[in-house]
């Protein structure tokens, strides 16, 4: 809604109770999400309802799990990350069948699927226990074993309300996602999900059917929903995910929830991974993976990190002295930019060289060396200032600094400003190990 649309719904008394000088000013503030509907005490009920619906998130935020490992999906506002950013990194779930011979071992293996990426831990978020056996007791036992062996929240996969009921008796307090309400079982599934206050996935046969079913479940009073159009081929899943996101952003109410996508292409396990990648990039709220092998999960965790990075914020590390290994006063000093990607490439290549060293990332506002150089942010002045002010002069006995090969042109000026001998390093960070061995140890 525009500011003027909102203004028409306001009392137009200019009473200032909301803190704004006029109703028009308040309307503009509301349109820009700088004010809250509740700040106006004199709104009519219809106006309040209209305005609250218009300011509600287009895609409901759905939470799965309880405590520190709670994970969430939803709240997305755009079709393309360059329009603003994607908000909630899609939780990844690993599938465990109740026909598994050793669900405890599979659970422990899945627990270790957490990786250090750029200094932070990232990994899977959910375990999905599937009722393949068709037996409610076997399912409940498997859910119990998995639940006891993990901190990850669960997805309970069964279309049998009895199986879900038994599983919820065991894990309901840990707030699992129930999958799924269908045409046949939705009254019972909805009642169970409401009773335990847990989110519920709705599985349709196609988009039209899904929309109808989601409305029916919502009419029973449950709003923590997750959508599945039922498609499993990558072509159809991509089409449905795209359509659901477009519809949700235009406030088509039945599709105003996050989605779940199953990458379970059984013919070829590698294809399943590639398809999971497509779903991460293209709008899935939750992605279920068929395998817990680390080489399968690592690329997907990495892709999610890339796609959900906020493009408006350059990723930067603090501009200070970083020690790699245990450098002494004869260790080399390398400067680079504080763009985190650049810094971590340099750090990992220095580490690979096994030469203890100091790295000084110059504050370039988080842009790369060459971009920083072109924009006047990676300058001899800034490098000289950092050499002087960072305290590196107290840490090393020598006065030799290594600069990136791409900015060799800075050498003369930097030497004049700092008095340090300037050594031109390799153009690519990958050349650092060979360079340090040749130029520093020799």
């Amino acid at each position: 809604m525009t500011g003027l649309d909102i203004f028409k719904l306001l009392p137009k008394t200019n009473c200032k109770k909301c803190g704004q000088a006029t109703c028009l000013a308040f309307a503009m503030a509301l349109a820009n999400a700088k004010a809250d509907v509740g700040q106006c005490p004199d709104l009519s009920d219809t106006a309040r309802e209209t305005l609250e619906a218009a300011s509600a998130p287009q895609i409901t935020l759905v939470k799965i799990g309880a405590g520190p490992n709670e994970t969430q999906a939803g709240n997305e506002t755009v079709l393309f990350r360059h329009d603003k950013c994607f908000v909630n990194p899609a939780p990844l779930a690993v599938l465990i069948s109740d026909k598994s011979e050793n669900p405890a071992a599979e659970t422990l293996k899945a627990n270790s699927l957490v990786f250090d990426r750029l200094g932070q831990m990232h990994g899977i978020n959910l375990l999905a226990v599937q009722n393949h056996s068709g037996d409610t007791v076997v399912f409940a036992e498997t859910v119990k074993v998995v639940s006891e062996n993990t901190n990850f929240p669960l997805i309970l996969i069964s279309e049998d309300p009895l199986a879900i009921e038994k599983a919820l008796e065991i894990t309901g307090a840990k707030k699992p996602l129930v999958y799924a309400a269908t045409e046949e079982n939705y009254p019972a599934m909805t009642e169970l999900s409401r009773k335990y206050n847990v989110p519920l996935a709705v599985k349709g046969r196609d988009l039209d059917h899904l929309a109808g079913l989601a409305e029916k479940v919502a009419a029973l009073g449950h709003r923590q929903l997750v959508l599945d159009s039922g498609a499993r081929s990558v072509r159809q899943v991509l089409a449905d995910q795209t359509q659901i996101r477009r519809q949700a952003l235009r406030r088509f109410r039945p599709f105003g929830y996050p989605t779940i996508a199953f990458a379970v292409n059984s013919r070829d396990p590698l294809q399943a991974v590639v398809e999971a990648g497509v779903y991460i990039a293209k709008y899935a709220g939750i992605v279920v993976l068929p395998s817990a092998d680390p080489e399968v999960v690592l690329p997907l965790v990495t892709l999610r990190l890339n796609i959900f990075t906020d493009p408006q914020k350059p990723a930067a590390v603090d501009s200070r002295i970083y020690e790699i290994g245990s450098p002494d006063d004869s260790a080399p000093v390398l400067v680079t930019s504080n763009f985190s990607l650049t810094y971590f490439c340099v750090a990992s290549d220095v580490e690979a060289s096994r030469v203890p060293a100091y790295i000084l990332p110059i504050d370039t506002d988080g842009v790369s060396v060459l971009t920083g150089w072109a924009a006047g942010k990676f300058t001899p002045e800034r490098i000289a200032a950092m050499l002087k002010e960072s305290g590196i002069e107290d840490k090393v006995a020598h006065r030799r600094v290594i600069i990136p090969g791409g900015v060799a042109v800075l050498s003369g000026k930097l030497h004049d400003l700092s008095g340090w001998e300037v050594i031109v390093g390799p153009v690519e960070s990958s050349g650092i190990p060979a360079f340090l061995k040749r130029r520093w140890i020799a």
Partner: protein, 315 residues
């Protein structure tokens, strides 16, 4: 009790140019899309993204064993190597003239042209020709290669901001298609395409190289620049309506995730599967952003990528 969903279909005013590479009957086509990739419910992706495998004129020193083992016995002979790539199912051969680099063999333009001719004669599939990256050298080498491959309608790289004139002229005179390279910048991409077309190269012989990064190493920058270029092209900007070219292999195979053996990083799992997945997931993601020509290195990546394309494009 269904609720009829009024399917939202985007209609764009323009199409992506279709670039034809090679000569009959062995041509391949890139581009031609009328909407975003693979959204077949609202438009066309008439040509599936193409895959080129990389062949070098010297034996690469840095390639890990899981890569070189796929080309055993042929890597000292570019023509035989290209034949192997054709056998693996590559749509194109990307011949990289790394030997012309002053730090490598510093081979002469005439030597490079000889190699290029031998490779072109050894295979039916069309050729992509890439220099060594040293601009002064590439200008001489690519000119000579364009000349001896006259009439073969190759794809030649790369025109850059500071050195586009000679290579563009070579493509115009000898009848090749041109890769125009820009450093992740939509404005420079457009500006360079304008300059190149003003020299007389038709816009349906231009391919954009946005200088992509690998999964985990800047992929998201390329992803968003490519989406923006594609949307601009479809929305009517004819100077951005070119197919896009992605150097996947060279970026992926320098990452630790592809090259580190399982003994070094046991927590990352099996290296062969990990490396191929790194290459395929990078390519598949950039295909979603609009990439039309993928240069890869591992035949396993090529195979998986083509299966994925089939699943995305066929009923």
């Amino acid at each position: 009790m269904n609720v009829a969903v009024n399917i939202i279909k985007e209609k764009y005013s323009n199409r992506i140019n279709e670039v034809v590479i090679g000569t009959d009957p062995h041509t391949v086509k890139a581009g031609g899309d009328s909407t975003l990739p693979f959204l077949l419910f609202e438009g066309e992706t008439p040509n599936r993204p193409l895959v080129a495998l990389e062949v070098w004129d010297i034996e690469p020193k840095q390639w890990p064993e899981i890569l070189t083992s796929e080309f055993k016995g042929v890597m000292s002979n570019p023509a035989a190597w290209a034949g192997k790539c054709e056998e693996y199912g590559a749509d194109l051969i990307c011949l990289t003239l790394a030997g012309s680099h002053p730090d490598n063999l510093d081979s002469s333009p005439a030597q490079c042209a000889e190699t290029a001719r031998a490779v072109a004669d050894a295979v039916k599939v069309p050729l992509i020709i890439m220099g060594c990256g040293v601009e002064e050298k590439d200008v001489q080498v690519i000119g000579e290669v364009c000349k001896v491959l006259e009439g073969r309608n190759c794809l030649v790289g790369c025109a850059k901001q500071d050195s586009y004139k000679t290579i563009t002229a070579s493509c115009i005179v000898h009848g090749h298609n041109l890769i125009v390279s820009n450093p992740l910048d939509i404005n420079i991409a457009k500006q360079l395409n304008i300059l190149v077309t003003e020299m007389g190269l038709p816009s349906n012989r231009i391919v954009i190289d946005p200088l992509v990064g690998s999964l985990g190493y800047g992929l998201e920058y390329a992803y968003s620049i490519m989406e923006r270029i594609r949307i601009s092209g479809l929305s009517g900007d004819k100077m951005l309506a070119m197919p896009m070219f992605c150097q996947i292999g060279q970026e992926v195979w320098k990452t630790k995730e592809a090259s580190s053996p399982v003994e070094e990083t046991p927590e990352w799992g099996d290296q062969a599967r990990r490396a191929v997945l790194w290459e395929v997931v990078t390519a598949a993601t950039l295909a979603q952003a609009g990439g039309s020509i993928m240069v890869m290195r591992h035949p396993g990546s090529l195979k998986q990528f083509l299966v994925h394309m089939k699943n995305l494009m066929e009923e």
